[in-house]
């Protein structure tokens, strides 16, 4: 018998597929395997992101800002033998550190979503990465309440095809650097092994 959990996950998976079907016209593209999805449990939006990642089948892991321990004990030894992608929603400092260490093994940040708290308590959003991700983030506006769930959808089923570095992918992820975000800002991100095309 199909469990309620499986049914809900299947329904969510179908819902997740829809934006990809829109983007790619047919079946969702092959998704990149994700080792873990990290979320900073100090922030309500990041907790919502983590919960959504679980519902989407992700290996969600809570953290509280510091990255050294899980990088040192889990990611570093794993990445030495086989780099594998990770995703998350954290403060800017955490992704800054992880980006540095991932670069040592040839991985890159392939997507960044900047989520900036407003005085209203809502968030403003900006996406950097390939066109499909930017379109998805553009659908969040300050009024969007369940944007953290939407952010989880973006990272949880990241297309393998969007892990290449080539002029044709149309990514603008490089434009994300050099932005002062503030320590209350959140960043959703994907760090992945990349292939080089052409």
């Amino acid at each position: 018998m199909t469990s309620r959990r499986t049914f809900i996950q299947a329904g969510l998976a179908a819902a997740v597929s829809i934006p990809f079907a829109k983007a790619f016209g047919s079946l969702p593209p092959a998704a990149m395997p994700l080792h873990a999805v990290y979320f900073d449990q100090r922030f309500a939006a990041a907790r919502a992101f983590g919960e959504a990642a679980v519902r989407l089948g992700g290996n969600a892991r809570a953290m509280s800002g510091a990255v050294h321990d899980f990088w040192y004990h889990d990611l570093a030894p794993r990445w030495r033998t086989r780099p594998i992608a990770i995703a998350g929603m954290t403060d800017p400092q955490a992704v800054f550190l992880l980006e540095m260490m991932a670069a040592d093994v040839g991985m890159r940040v392939v997507y960044r979503g900047h989520h900036l708290p407003q005085s209203s308590g809502r968030y403003a959003h900006e996406g950097f990465g390939p066109p499909h991700a930017r379109r998805a983030v553009a659908e969040f506006d300050v009024a969007t309440r369940n944007w953290a769930t939407g952010a989880a959808r973006i990272v949880a089923h990241w297309p393998l095809a969007e892990c290449s570095i080539a002029a044709s992918t149309g990514t603008n992820v490089g434009a994300a650097s050099g932005r002062a975000l503030g320590h209350q800002a959140l960043v959703s991100w994907v760090i992945a092994p990349v292939t080089r095309v052409g």
Binding site: W71, P92, F96, V173, G174, L181, H183
Partner: protein, 527 residues
């Protein structure tokens, strides 16, 4: 594609192709996404890309032979190279080249521990290994030596030493360097010291060899790419224990310094430091949290900086010491106990100064290096920082003069934010045998282009005023390396001219790190 001046795109692409034939095309990087990592993450020039030093490409070798071939290809096509070990010297330039369009030689994949000899206490490393991974190796193999790491520990022992970096253990990492292996600008491989004698077993222990001692030529330099470095190791100590001396009188600072310095020179102490906690109590430099009283900022913002009597009174009323000296000894417990007993007997004679012994800590308790920054960019929406770090001799009058000079310069510029950040500082301990105080404070970088421009001018102004007083910069961010070299102007800049003569002889095509430490190859030199 970002090209070095005077190099055609065709030549550049040809060179990249030839690099690819050496290291594999997957290890030659030129895309925007890749090059975003080969930059100064803390650039003083955000929003001013025309002023930033930006790499044109990067190549990542794994062997000395590949480095040699890369250098020869660069000579053939006249492509400037800029080697980085891990490229994480944040605050001093990171992995930014010193000349736009340079090809970064990323040595991170050259990350072998070549040898660790526990009997003779040395290690030989390649430049790409970082402190954290080295520490992991030490722990996993129960190597009974201390790893002196700065924080964060993602940097390279080789790169850190070459930039005259420091750590909490030795405070002068370069002093532990013995022999080196260097690829010269013509592609030849050189080994220094005893390493130049085939079959010698002293490469890692006897650094001088015979003839002119050339190790220093490759530190903070553009005369070669270091591919191996031998380090002397410090044994893990059984105990480290320290003490503090506190006083509520500014006049006690000099006697305390004199006593601590003598004790270190005598070998009683392994290190010492000096502070004025009340004056430093509201500083946010280095991620500190203010703990003092508002009057501290008021006094520091006054033209006269507050009188000695006012500071002493403020220290007493707020119960924050006016002077604090620290010292420590490490080694076998019985030896440490004896040394500190002697230190106590000497220091207790200082009138009005309270001596308090600290907690002993086992050498095995030394914190492991991590990748966390206690403070980082992205605090209060800044984009990073770069360091202003002059050194002075350990004299109270000099400490006060330097602080007053910095304070007045910031006040004259109306930069209260930077003044509040700096506050006051006597450094973080004495370096280089206890005879040098190193004051370091960070210039924060923002998105405000005009503010950043003013700050850069202020930095240059500070270099200028310090130069007039003989206070020198031993390290400088890439953006200010010309100014730093400009300080060393004795005898009509003979030092810089000497460096240029050597540069022209060793690197006639000027392909290696042009501009590093303010030394330019002939074809790029301003007349």
């Amino acid at each position: 594609m970002r090209l070095p001046k005077g190099i055609s795109e065709r030549s550049f692409r040809n060179a990249l192709q030839e690099f690819g034939a050496v290291v594999g095309n997957e290890w030659v990087f030129s895309s925007d996404e890749d090059m975003a990592l080969y930059r100064d993450a803390y650039t003083p020039f955000p929003g001013e890309p025309d002023k930033q030093y930006l790499a044109g490409a990067a190549v990542s070798p794994t062997t000395v032979e590949q480095v040699q071939q890369i250098v020869r290809i660069a000579n053939k096509h006249r492509i400037p190279l800029y080697p980085v070990s891990t490229g994480r010297n944040l605050g001093f330039g990171g992995s930014s080249p010193t000349y736009t369009g340079s090809v970064i030689v990323d040595l991170k994949r050259m990350n072998r521990i070549v040898e660790i000899n526990t009997r003779e206490g040395y290690m030989i490393l390649e430049p790409g290994i970082n402190f954290i991974e080295l520490h992991r190796h030490f722990k996993a193999n129960n190597i009974p030596y201390v790893l002196q790491s700065p924080m964060p520990g993602w940097g390279s022992p080789v790169g850190n030493a070459l930039d005259h970096g420091s750590s909490t253990v030795v405070r002068d990492n370069y002093s532990l360097v013995r022999g080196m292996e260097v690829v010269l600008p013509d592609g030849e491989v050189l080994r220094t010291g005893a390493g130049a004698v085939p079959g010698s077993k002293l490469w890692a222990t006897y650094q001088y060899g015979y003839g002119p001692f050339i190790n220093g030529m490759f530190s903070q330099s553009s005369l070669g790419i270091v591919t191996k470095m031998c380090f002397s190791l410090v044994p893990v100590w059984e105990t480290q224990q320290g003490f503090t001396l506190t006083s509520y009188s500014t006049a006690d600072m000099q006697p305390i310094i004199d006593a601590l310095l003598l004790l270190q020179m005598q070998g009683v102490l392994d290190g010492w430091g000096i502070e004025s906690p009340i004056r430093e109590s509201m500083s946010t430099n280095d991620g500190r949290r203010p703990y003092g009283v508002p009057q501290v900022k008021e006094l520091l913002r006054r033209a006269d900086g507050g009188s000695v009597a006012e500071w002493d009174a403020l220290g007493r009323s707020s119960n924050i010491p006016v002077v604090r000296g620290t010292g420590f000894a490490r080694g076998p417990t019985s030896v440490v106990d004896a040394r500190l007993a002697h230190a106590r007997s000497v220091l207790s004679r200082l009138p009005g100064v309270a001596f308090e012994l600290g907690r002993a800590a086992a050498g095995a308790d030394i914190p492991a290096p991590t990748i966390e920054f206690g403070f980082l960019a992205i605090q209060e929406a800044n984009l990073g920082h770069y360091y202003f770090a002059p050194v002075i001799n350990p004299v109270a009058e000099e400490i006060f003069a330097l602080n007053d000079t910095i304070r007045r310069t910031l006040l004259d510029a109306g930069d209260f934010e930077l003044l509040d950040n700096f506050g006051w500082s006597a450094g973080r301990g004495a370096f280089f045998g206890g005879k040098v105080l190193w004051i370091q404070f960070e210039f924060l970088v923002y998105e405000d282009v005009a503010k950043n421009q003013r700050r850069r001018e202020l930095y240059k102004k500070l270099v200028d005023v310090c130069t007039k007083r003989g206070w020198l910069l031993p390290r400088a961010p890439v953006a200010f390396q010309g100014e730093a070299m400009g300080q060393y102007s004795f005898n009509d800049d003979v030092l810089r001219r000497f460096h240029e003569t050597v540069k022209d002889a060793l690197d006639p095509n000027g392909i290696l790190a042009p501009g590093k430490s303010g030394i330019w190859p002939k074809h790029l030199r301003k007349s």
